[in-house]
């Protein structure tokens, strides 16, 4: 594709996209026992669904992601979707070949039913009273979205981090509805250290005086500071020591260390910016809810803590990708997953990608990572799409 005269958007992008809404009109039971009187999922799609409806890929987003995975919302939109590097014509998730679906998860704050939605029973936003959601609930709602789109079986379900957990759950809960699961920078359960970081983030939010027990919206305020701190802590854990040294070192943004006047390191400035922009776009109750979903995810728990048993129902192929400097979802966690999949006799391939970008690597164009994805999904296309 060449640049068209009217468009200033990159030619390797899916271009202008607009979100759509799927409304599930009837009651939906959550795993926690509560019921929602219907729900809405906002989602985007890229590429075209083929006549056989065999070329769909579901992309599951991570903690702070959204349905806007690729493309631009307007001609002068500066920020493309969160996985623009990976989704598009000729990219690893090739929209010339695949039809890509990416929903915003239930409980999110980008348009799907969540804490900012008005509770029909009270006429007030759900706020802190939004029921506890789990990865399993997300997968159930995504399956309803797939029904709505007429997709019986995905060629692949792909996700990084928390998104990988959803792909894993797809494999075990809807074994007939996917050909392959791609689990990137993922784990079968969080470690104590991981839960600890999430709890620090939650406490930063909850202890912000503007949080008001989660009822900040009704009072017209927002726990900006808490959200900012939560994001700053999270962000540091998504980078690596080496990566931060290379990117920021000890460079100063302003001031003079000699006189100790108004010193701001580049890394401080960067974190402040990240934290501030996050507090503008993310809802605090959603963040608390989503981090809890991460913490509670543990499919082995229902099977005597035996991950091999937990994976038994899966029939799809698996691809497990991890990154050398990712200490939040380390290579060791991916290896556990791979070993369990082998022990369960599943078809699995794995790659460990050299990258200095820590957990964030899964969002970036690391050449070998994309080679691996491209090769794997190319194979999936021949198996599931060309000759289903």
């Amino acid at each position: 594709m060449a640049y068209s005269v009217s468009s200033s958007l990159p030619s390797d992008s899916v271009g202008l996209v607009s979100p759509q809404v799927f409304a599930h009109p009837s009651g939906f039971s959550l795993r926690c026992g509560e019921t929602l009187e219907g729900f809405e999922l906002v989602y985007e799609t890229y590429g075209r669904l083929n006549a056989a409806r065999s070329n769909a890929i579901l992309v599951c987003h991570a903690l702070s992601g959204s349905h806007h995975a690729a493309g631009y919302h307007s001609e002068d939109d500066k920020r493309p979707g969160w996985w623009e590097s990976c989704i598009g014509p000729g990219k690893p998730i090739d929209t010339d070949r695949f039809f890509v679906v990416c929903p915003n998860n239930l409980g999110g704050c980008h348009g799907s039913t969540g804490p900012t939605t008005v509770d029909p029973r009270t006429g007030e936003p759900f706020g802190p009273n939004f029921p506890v959601v789990t990865v399993e609930d997300w997968v159930d709602t995504q399956a309803l979205l797939a029904d709505h789109l007429g997709i019986d079986r995905f060629a692949a379900v792909v996700g990084g981090s928390l998104g990988g957990m959803q792909a894993m759950r797809w494999a075990t809960d809807y074994p007939d509805r996917l050909h392959a699961a791609v689990l990137i920078a993922c784990a079968a359960r969080l470690s104590a250290q991981n839960i600890a970081f999430n709890e620090i983030a939650r406490q930063a939010i909850i202890s912000d005086p503007e949080f008001h027990g989660g009822n900040y919206r009704q009072l017209g305020v927002n726990p900006d500071l808490g959200l900012m701190l939560a994001r700053m802590v999270g962000h540091v854990t998504y980078l690596s020591d080496d990566g931060m040294r290379q990117r920021f070192g000890r460079q100063l943004k302003s001031g003079d260390i000699e006189t100790a006047q108004d010193v701001e390191f580049q890394v401080e400035s960067y974190l402040h910016h990240q934290g501030r922009s996050f507090s503008q776009r993310f809802d605090a109750n959603s963040y608390v809810l989503m981090t809890r979903a991460l913490d509670y995810f543990d499919p082995a728990r229902e099977h005597d803590d035996d991950l091999v048993k937990a994976l038994a129902s899966a029939t799809c192929r698996f691809c497990v990708i991890s990154f050398t400097t990712d200490w939040r979802f380390s290579v060791a966690r991916s290896k556990e997953l791979v070993d369990a999949l082998i022990a369960a006799g599943k078809n699995v391939a794995s790659a460990i990608i050299e990258s200095e970008h820590g957990h964030d690597s899964f969002l970036l164009n690391v050449p070998r990572y994309f080679d691996v994805l491209r090769a794997y999904l190319g194979r999936i296309a021949t198996e599931a799409v060309d000759a289903p």
Binding site: V338, A343, R368, A375
Partner: protein, 202 residues
């Protein structure tokens, strides 16, 4: 398919669980998957090989053999295969132990350093043999544990590992009569099929 892999494929039973250590581009596993419904996995560390395996639909696992195989439980496979990799691992003897712990049987292939051309090269030129099959200079070769068939059999004997089968071929993977009589001189590559250490021996 490469002739050496064809020879291995012949002895593998349909439906077997096979682990291929250093699976390269995954030709053996790709063949076994389609023709023998084998549930196979290959370990590999070379990025290009891994990409090729993915392209071929092979269950390739990125894992460095020298970091051990502790993640594989005892008896988790029917057969463990290693083609022309044994000479490149840190501890070939411990590798054999591990292979026979994981699988009831193993197949190992490696080049014979006692092959007459190697001997002639060393004897006449006084230098470490370099050939089409072993193209590396001594200082940058991955083949850090080259041995002769005799060396290998001695190791098997000392470990009490029964040699179930042995098959010797030349560079073109052909078996000729002379090399069956004097394998350690005329044989270029050997396939060894080994079983677990004989139990009950004092």
């Amino acid at each position: 398919m490469r002739p050496d892999l064809e020879i291995i494929a012949e002895v593998i039973k349909p439906g077997a669980r096979v682990l291929d250590l250093g699976c390269g581009e995954g030709e053996l596993l790709a063949y076994l998957q389609t023709s023998k419904q084998v549930n196979g996995y290959g370990l590999e560390i070379d990025p290009d090989n891994i990409t090729t395996c993915l392209h071929n639909g092979v269950n390739v696992i990125e894992q460095d053999l020298d970091e051990g195989l502790d993640n594989f439980p005892d008896d988790s496979f029917d057969l463990v295969v290693m083609t022309e990799t044994l000479q490149a691992v840190q501890n070939p003897d411990r590798m054999l132990d591990d292979m026979l712990r994981i699988g009831g049987e193993c197949i190992v292939t490696f080049p014979n350093f006692g092959y007459w051309r190697c001997r002639a090269y060393l004897a006449l030129r006084g230098r470490m043999p370099v050939s089409e099959h072993l193209p590396h200079a001594w200082y940058d070769t991955p083949n850090i544990h080259l041995c002769t068939f005799k060396d290998f059999e001695r190791l098997c004997h000392s470990k009490g590992l029964p040699v179930i089968d042995r098959f010797v071929v030349d560079e073109r993977h052909l078996a000729r009569r002379l090399m069956q009589r004097f394998p350690n001189f005329f044989g270029h590559i050997a396939f060894y099929r080994l079983g677990r250490p004989n139990s009950g021996e004092a």
